[in-house]
Amino acid sequence: MKPRWTFWAAAGWLAFVALAACAGPVLFSGAASAMDFARVLAPPSATHPLGTDSLGRDLLARIVCGAGASIGVGVVSVAISMGVGVLVGAASGYFGGWRDRVLMGLADVLLCFPVLFLILAVIAVLGPGVWHVIVVIGLTSWMGTARLVRAEIFSLKEREFALAARALGAGHTRILFGHLVPNASGPVLVNAVLGVSVAILLEAGLSFLGLGVQPPTPSWGNLLTDGKATLGAAWWLVFFPGVAIFSTVLAANVIGDRLRDSLAGERHIG
């Protein structure tokens, strides 16, 4: 097994980020939007530990506030996609037959979908807002989880405990949600943790294209994109948001990895 300190470091960082995500927008939004025209594009110093941006706003405050948007996008969209994915995958794997074909067909359709367009359409019609991005990402990334759950349920439903439950007269829902899904939850959880990291990277990518969280609300993605415009003149504007994204994604991956390793161990025994 890998050394334990990586796991605890990752967990510690994620806890800190989660705290920043909740407290940041509440405590630091003033500092994040205060413009100091005397100190535009200032390098890191005592008063501004991470430097300032092109409007003189403190980068540290903006990164802390940005955590809220980025983590929010990551966690909530994953929650949505997990929820939908588990439901669809469970139904598909358990019932099989035409229901399976229809649901997987739907999954295939959505896989080929122009997510970019959907985001454009939703943003323009319903107005701007991080929520619309979240919902769209959530509703277009459940397919992987669904397939995973479906495969698990397929193999699990013929196992002894399931057969026993059926013999005892348990109803479908009870078998599904009482027994099968919890046993399949290991890989799903791993997927969820990894999904958060993917969602954060996705938000950064969307911001690059101008479709992520809209300024002046900071998010790590749009901070990075703004920093790109000043590349060469203000390295801190590109470096620190990138480090924030990278560390969080890395931490999530380490935790996900550890989860997967320990689950794999369990399943071999079970």
Binding site: M1, P114, K228, I245, F246
Partner: protein, 323 residues
């Protein structure tokens, strides 16, 4: 097996209909339009000119009729002409595909060449600091935003050291170079994009290989081989590796259809005129024929990929029955 295949292919047809109709609808109902994209805020553009353009693009007809017209041509593999410059959509896509394939293909080869040995090494040295180091490096590539890494490397290798060209796939006037010079020029330009792309994809293969190898190494036959007194390298490569390689190769094989996707961010940063750039440009200028062409291509590839995935899972795991 044959029946299963036939059923899947038959089932794919209505699926394609569904995908194309849904995409068509969403695209055309999304706000903005090709006329506005062309007209911009040009005060000289008269209302009549706009109407003319709208008629030309068929925007005055109802959605279902437009879809039927498009479908009629699409089944004959005629995807129409681009709104932007009138060029045939198939020509446009045909020009972008080799570019994207070249970069993604080379990147995949590099990922395999580096990832598989790294994965084996990590598995053999599991738990040690070497293992963590490899994991760390590989995860870095996966966790950092691609354009961040790309810009950093371009700045360093392109500007500071001036070892590598910064953008594009060719130097200027490369047609005038001798074939050998041209090949070298292309190779030189490919170094950064392929390296960045591979770095990002390394994590998946390395970790999967590691996991697969670890699983193989814990199997009984490995213990038996060791008990028989076979040398360690022989145990590793003749026995464990061959079995561990199968799932990895399957995974890689399944990602081949996705090679054609092309990342718009990646291509935008490197100025590579591939599928990603084409899709992005056509989305923002509402070039509907090109968008539909790319989507159909993507849909077909995804369906093929799914079929291969299902076949592969069934082959590998006997518990899954193909119905």
């Amino acid at each position: 097996m044959g029946r299963y295949l036939a059923r899947r292919i038959a089932g794919a047809v209505p699926l394609l209909f569904g995908i194309t109709f849904l995409s068509f609808a969403v695209i055309h109902l999304a706000p903005g339009g090709p006329v506005e994209a062309k007209a911009g805020l040009n005060p000289k553009m008269t209302a009549q000119a706009r109407e003319k353009l709208a008629t030309l693009y068929g925007l005055d007809k109802p959605l279902v009729e437009r879809y039927r017209a498009w479908l009629g041509r699409a089944v004959r593999l005629d995807f129409g002409e681009s709104f932007a410059d009138g060029e045939k959509v198939s020509v446009k896509i045909g020009r972008a595909v080799p570019v994207t394939l070249l970069v993604s293909g080379l990147s995949l080869v590099l990922v395999l060449l580096v990832g598989i040995p790294l994965g084996v090494y990590s598995a053999v040295r599991a738990g040690t600091r070497a293992d963590s180091l490899v994991s760390g490096i590989v995860l870095f590539g996966f966790s950092a935003p691609t354009f961040w890494i790309a810009l950093g490397l371009m700045s360093f290798f392109g500007v500071t050291l001036q070892w590598l060209p910064v953008t594009g796939l060719h130097s200027l006037f490369h047609e005038e170079m001798a074939p050998l010079e041209r090949a070298v020029d292309l190779a030189w330009h490919l170094v950064l994009p392929v390296a960045v792309s591979a770095f990002a994809g390394l994590a998946a293969v390395t970790r999967f290989m590691r996991g697969s190898m670890l699983e193989a190494l814990s199997q009984n036959y490995v213990r038996a081989a060791r008990a028989k007194g076979l040398s360690e390298p022989r145990v590793l490569y003749r026995h464990a590796l061959r079995n561990a390689l199968l799932p990895v190769v399957t995974l890689v094989g399944l990602s081949v259809p996705g090679l054609l996707g092309g990342s718009v961010i990646f291509e935008s940063i490197f100025s590579i005129p591939g599928m990603g750039s084409l899709f992005y440009a056509s989305v923002f200028s509402r070039d509907y024929p090109v968008i539909m062409g790319i989507l159909v291509l993507g849909a077909v590839l995804t369906l093929v990929g799914n079929l291969l995935a299902d076949l592969a899972y069934a082959a590998v795991d006997p518990r899954i029955r193909l119905e």
